[in-house]
Symmetry: C2
Subunit: 331 residues, 2 copies
């Protein structure tokens, strides 16, 4: 925590909601405002609402301007952290939005930008389950799968800030085709999308047809619905989560063998169904991993939840890692 | 290169040969001596010969004692880098040999210890194909597969110095059993052992029986013999290397997605057959990888070869990474 200014603004730009918050070095959220993104409006209009939100945050809080280190932005998509440009964000429909320059022109603060998984990892590292660790991995399991990796007390960014693509680790070269161009990516086995698809295909093909939680239109299923079904004890739903847990465990064992971490933290919407997955995840790691490496790994669930984005954005000003904001980032 | 003393001694302790060398910061080998390990003699006897070798290196060279930063040891096996103990080295039959203390008592030099793959990576990083890179991966393909990974200008060591187990990344949870406890590890598909086994099983089962390079006893095959057969154009041998290249490419794509490196350097005995593998490796990476990440990765062959161990051992004194020698190491 190298910055002398004790506060920072975190900004989490999502496809549905944009959240801004003023955060201190202890990780307290002093002020927080969320607005709808309405991505169908043009970026300028969205940003105008963001500016007003930041104005309101500053007005509402008692924090003097000169105690704010800067604005740290977390966004999904292809990010150029060096130039602070959102190169392409599918969930926003944005292309080449120079958010660093725009925010820097409007407010007289330094701006930092990183992708959402890295931001969540930073938040866990400073204030969450990775506190005090030199080696930790944050994995978000949602419609896709992403990760932020801290190794030896530094974020893995790679040469273009594009490292940490855990979702696109292939665990089967003959597996299902992934949009990334590879086959058998973890994301195709263990993401929310994969869980829903697994149940869908079994509803269509298998003996479970019409017996699944009252749903007949398999195509409408989401992992959230599968989660509800699992809570009602539906066997098909339970086995879908168990299978996803197995593949996550396989992927996490690979990460353990590469990074030898102290803790792996699981977050993202799908982890709401943690109790259906965690036993299988841990069992798989214990069965498949090298004992010398697995015995000390703690598998935790993120409790920062939706606040990982704003916390991690602000946290960029509280860690000492130039490389995090020096390069091009790719989700 | 933070050490003011311009020379260091590198010591590469292998199961067949032990090599010692005096190396300067430019990577020149000023003196080099190799002796047979004769691991059937007790560690004390082996070390006595090592001491005499180091004496001879010092006598033969014109380097003043006070210009030598220390002795950097590279060894295979389970290494405790912090305590500088070779915990278990299968190729030597050594258990709990406190080589740091022993060498430190005999010679008045600081001693550092790391595993052989990490040492080779350090050598490539300072003087080889990874020169000037902040993100590079060294992979050794031999009877087994190991790696040393530099990310953001630092060696990935993990919490117990046990990271970088590329050989034990599973690319098929239902694949062949590996000694590490996992299934479908890269090592089971692309190591020298795997290449020889692939040809063996096809000789035993397939139509190639008795046609392979004159060999009838499949059980005697090694990847070296397969390499010679490939040079004679044997189809079975060529396809075995091609298949190994495919799986290496799959594993390397995984590494690229995680580490976003500038260069991956391949070394180890099996890479003598590089011309039978490299086209498939590169093709697989290009087909399977995310273009934004693969387009800038250079795949190179190590030209430091057997000298990677002594160079990397000495190189430990020429890089600034405390964590490399702070922790427990596991091959």
């Amino acid at each position: 925590m190298n910055n002398s200014k004790p506060h920072a603004i975190g900004l989490d730009i999502g496809g549905t909601t944009i959240t801004g918050a003023i955060i201190n070095k202890t990780g307290d959220i002093l002020e927080k405002i969320s607005i709808d993104t309405n991505p169908e409006t043009c970026p300028d209009e969205v940003l105008e609402r963001v500016y007003r939100m930041i104005d309101a945050l500053l007005d509402n809080s008692n924090v003097p301007i000169d105690e704010i280190a800067g604005i740290g932005v977390a966004a999904a998509g292809v990010i150029d952290s060096k130039e602070k440009v959102i190169v392409f964000a599918n969930n926003l429909g944005w292309r080449n939005v120079p958010i660093g320059k725009l925010l820097g022109d409007r407010f007289d603060f330094p701006v930092k930008l990183t992708n959402d998984a890295n931001a969540a990892a930073v938040a866990e590292w400073i204030w969450g389950e990775g506190r005090g660790c030199q080696n930790m991995i944050y994995i978000t399991v949602s419609t896709g799968i992403g990760s932020g990796i801290i190794s030896g007390g530094r974020m893995i960014t790679g040469s273009d800030d594009s490292g940490g693509e855990f979702g696109h680790i292939s665990i089967n070269p003959d597996g299902p085709q992934c949009l990334c161009g590879n086959r058998g990516c973890i994301e195709r086995y263990a993401s929310g999308t994969a869980i829903a698809e697994r149940v869908q295909s079994q509803l269509e093909d298998g003996p479970h047809r019409k017996t699944f939680f009252g749903y007949e239109k398999a195509s409408l299923l989401t992992s959230e619905i599968v989660g509800k079904a699992a809570e009602h004890g539906d066997e098909l739903a339970l086995s879908a989560f168990k299978e996803a847990g197995f593949y996550l465990g396989i992927g996490m064992t690979n990460l353990i063998n590469l990074f030898n971490p102290e803790v792996i933290i699981l977050g993202g919407g799908v982890m709401k169904a943690q109790h259906f997955m965690l036993p299988t995840i841990k069992e798989t790691i214990n069965e498949r991993g090298i004992a010398a490496l697995t015995k000390r790994v703690q598998v935790s669930i993120s409790y920062l939840e939706q606040e990982g984005g704003v916390l991690g954005g602000a946290g960029l000003f509280f860690i000492d890692q130039p490389s995090l904001t020096n390069n091009l980032s790719y989700i």
